[in-house]
Amino acid sequence: MTGAGSQVTESASRREDARFLHGTGRYLDDLSVAGLHHIAFVRSTVAHGILHGVTTAEAFAMPGVTAVLTGRDLSRRLGHLAPSKADGGVFEEKLLSQLGDSRSFIRREARPPIAVDRVRHVGEIISVVIADDPYRAEDAAERVGVDISELDPVVDPGRALEDGSPLLYDHWPDNRSLHLHVSKGDIDTALARARTVSRRRLHSGRVSANPIEPRGVMAAFDSRTGHLTVWSSTQIPHPVRTFLADALGLPAGCIRVIAPDVGGGFGCKAIPYPEELLCAVCALDHRVPVKWVEDRWEHFTSAIHSRDQIHDIEIGLDENGRILGVRDNFIVDTGAANPLGVVQPYNTIAHLCGCYEVPTLEATATAVVTNKAPLSPYRGAGRPEAVFAMERILDVAARQAGMDPFELRRRNLIPAGSMPYEVGFNYRDGNPIVYDSGDFPACFERAVTLAGVPSKPTRSNTDSRGRRIGVGVAAYVEGTGVGPFEGALVRMDETGHVTVAVGACPQGQGHETVFAHLAATALGMKPTDVHVITGDTDAVPYGWGTLASRSAVVAGSAVYEAATDLRRRILATVAADWEISVDDLEIVESSVRVAGTPTRTLLLNEIAAEFSPGQRRARTFGPGLESVSYWEPPTVTFASGTHVARVAVDTETGIVEIIGYVVVHDCGPLLAPAIVEGQITGGVAQGIGAALYEEIRYDHDGQPLNPNLMDYLLPTSDTVPDLVISHLQTPSPLNPLGIKGVGEAGAIAPPAAVANAIENALEDLGVSIDKVPVSPGYLLEQLAVASVGKGSGFITDRGGPD
């Protein structure tokens, strides 16, 4: 058999493609059941207020309406939404106890799934309308009356922390929902020793995931079986089932959650949502199957937002340009809730040191609640913010020290010989952060070479159109393949065909293709004889989901382990028959044979038939050919990479064009190169969006200013260049395939690399780029600030060369 970690498929074509190309994919809104009704939610148009009452009579009288429900109707039935057990909750307690710092805490608010007496953001659900037709549900929703008296909204996260700020949660002492403090070494001493200390305030803007398929839920109760089935456009069917079981007081075994084809997720479909619970309770209590499909306004105002961190970071260098220490205090604006708790802020802390040797570190995260939509991880999950802070401050420090920014990085990159490298504090899973593999200098140099960066970059080049050309670099690490586990079941049926069921739940990553290849390779079969089931809680008892750059690593390892175990059992029965050692047998083309001698063979389907209950092999070895693996990673495995961006900046219009982009990435051996490169390319496009275009803006009243795709700009084809991608393939020692995750990597570095390139292009003008996205308006403002000689105001010179 092919060894672990080898490439499973060279072809770009995936088995998923045919149905997607012919319009026969089945996404949430394509599903129906007999008697289906439709839900429209009435949502708050007020950011912060007391909800006095909801009038439903007029809506209820509208044609086709089955029910109109309010928070008061449902609150006793549902109680509050328990804090999510998805991901954050699993590791959170352990992490907080390990931090052992009296300053660190997390406050979690059990929020009602539907507003009862208070609204805390535009988009919060106030009423549920069930009707026999989606148009009629919306007609009736317009007739629901809502009586709200407005409270002072909390919009600016800095002001939210001031004494006297209005509170979102009246029984809290302030608006802080989380505080994390991590340190290694004595930062005060380190910075006091430094030749130069550079400081900046750096802001990663608030973004929205915006998969092209919005969220959606369908729920049906079967009164014959007593089972509730919930179809959801989710990344995490098993955690959603647990969430529903807890909230509804039902046995988990009576609930089946199915994710059909999911049209993109990127993290925004990786938490349990109130809409899933509300659809389920409507199907249960009103005994009609119901469906809700999110519209784009709802996506912008009630699906999670992400990023939105403001960092005050400082770095000290010695006289040789070596980093002595980094101190970073940052605020996360979590909006009205932070469902995954520590995940995003702690990821930022854990990835702050990146590829560099940072001997002393102090990092403090403060999460603040405001009257905005909730915040949770989105592709990158705290890492783009860390890399934006660290890689920007390195450029600032290089300039202050009179060094080339590429050379400064070279002096601080962790050498390959130092692997595995201990960073000096713990990951959020409670294990020490150890970079298990990689070659950061090689990655960096290859990216610099591919980008054609001259050894002494010439400044202020211009192109034929008079635009200034700049080059920027950003390196990163990413802890991938996080636990707690993923489940895979591999079953050979009586016809000799194999079914693989995984808890992982794809949104376009090609799981069916990759997992079929992994199982087929282990079992000596054709991939076409392997059927793959994803996103169905009835197909495998325990699962987690597809998020956090984890599925190839964690689900892939589970599939590999289960298939390898099945192979062992098959060979053991044949070895017993033939009185030969298992080690002398192999499976080739669905036949067991003595290795290298195709004369004596036994077909897998003949063997499988004899495993039916009562048959010969079943009597000896037990019935059925099935193996289940719940693969638990020991801890995360670190992928790494370097991006180099080349930009053209028009100082008249403030428009930036990315004219070249290089990615060198190390995710270990490539299982499916086309899929890996597709993940990187798509991630970079989202990173370019965050760097130049995407930002959710709110006004002083907490009203979203651009909750639509005309005013919130997603990258289009003309804004994303063809990338130059190259791979390092240092294997991970932490899983049988030797692989590291790649789902989020592309999105991590672009904001930093692009911002560095823009600042490089404008270096002689003294322009400072302190936030992303770098919109034309922001860039023109910074040009104006520079031209009146104010600079950024955050740099203090402590005796550097100039």
Binding site: A12, S13, R14, E16, D17, A18, R19, F20, L21, H22, G23, T24, G25, R26, Y27, D29, D30, P63, Y135, A209, N210, P211, I212, E213, P214, D261, V262, G263, G264, F266, V293, D295, R296, Q507, G508, Q509, G510, I655, E657, I675, G678, T681, G682, G683, V684, A685, Q686, N708, L709, M710, L714, T716, S717, D718, T719, V720, P721, D722, L723, G746
Partner: protein, 167 residues
């Protein structure tokens, strides 16, 4: 309660005549999806920006979320389900999307296929820039567009890497 006003519309959809009594407010995309069961046409934004709902109406690409079904009475409509031949074989464009990894989640794909099919039928020898302009009318959140551009160039018989549109 008065019954809503209805009217009859007849369309040729993927070569078959479809006649339905509908409310005047029914959108073309909902007629295709709900009444005809052609769920390959997707709704991403419902206001004409993302392009996922694009179908071919009388030979031209059109956003089916912005068209009232009643307004295209008598038209000939092609959807993603009608692109392949009768035996279900991929068109060159569909095959190129698969070969060049021009799709991931597949949600935006039908709209892109319809726009590019209509475009390539109208201009079998397009420039890369003209192809890029068609793609730039669609939002894809998964692929970063590179695979889509390669697929369209391949289907048009152009080199896979080409000088691109400048903003």
């Amino acid at each position: 309660m008065t019954a809503p006003e209805t009217r009859s519309v007849s369309l040729q959809v993927n070569g078959r005549l479809a006649t339905h009594r509908i409310e005047p407010r029914l959108l073309l995309v909902d007629l295709l999806r709900s009444l005809l069961g052609l769920t390959g046409t997707h709704v991403g934004c419902s206001y004409g920006v993302c392009g996922a709902c694009t179908v071919i109406v009388d030979g031209s690409p059109a956003r089916s979320c912005l068209l009232l079904a009643a307004s295209v009475d008598g038209a000939e409509v092609r959807t993603v389900e009608g692109l392949a031949d009768e035996r279900g074989r991929n068109t060159e464009l569909q095959q190129a999307f698969s070969d060049e990894h021009g799709l991931q989640c597949g949600f935006c794909t039908p709209g892109l296929l319809c726009s590019l099919t209509a475009f390539l039928e109208g201009d079998p020898n397009p420039t890369p820039v003209a192809i890029d302009e068609v793609i730039a009318g669609h939002l894809c959140r998964c692929t970063g567009y590179s695979g889509i551009r390669r697929a369209a160039r391949r289907a048009a018989g152009l080199p896979l890497t080409a000088e691109r549109t400048k903003p």
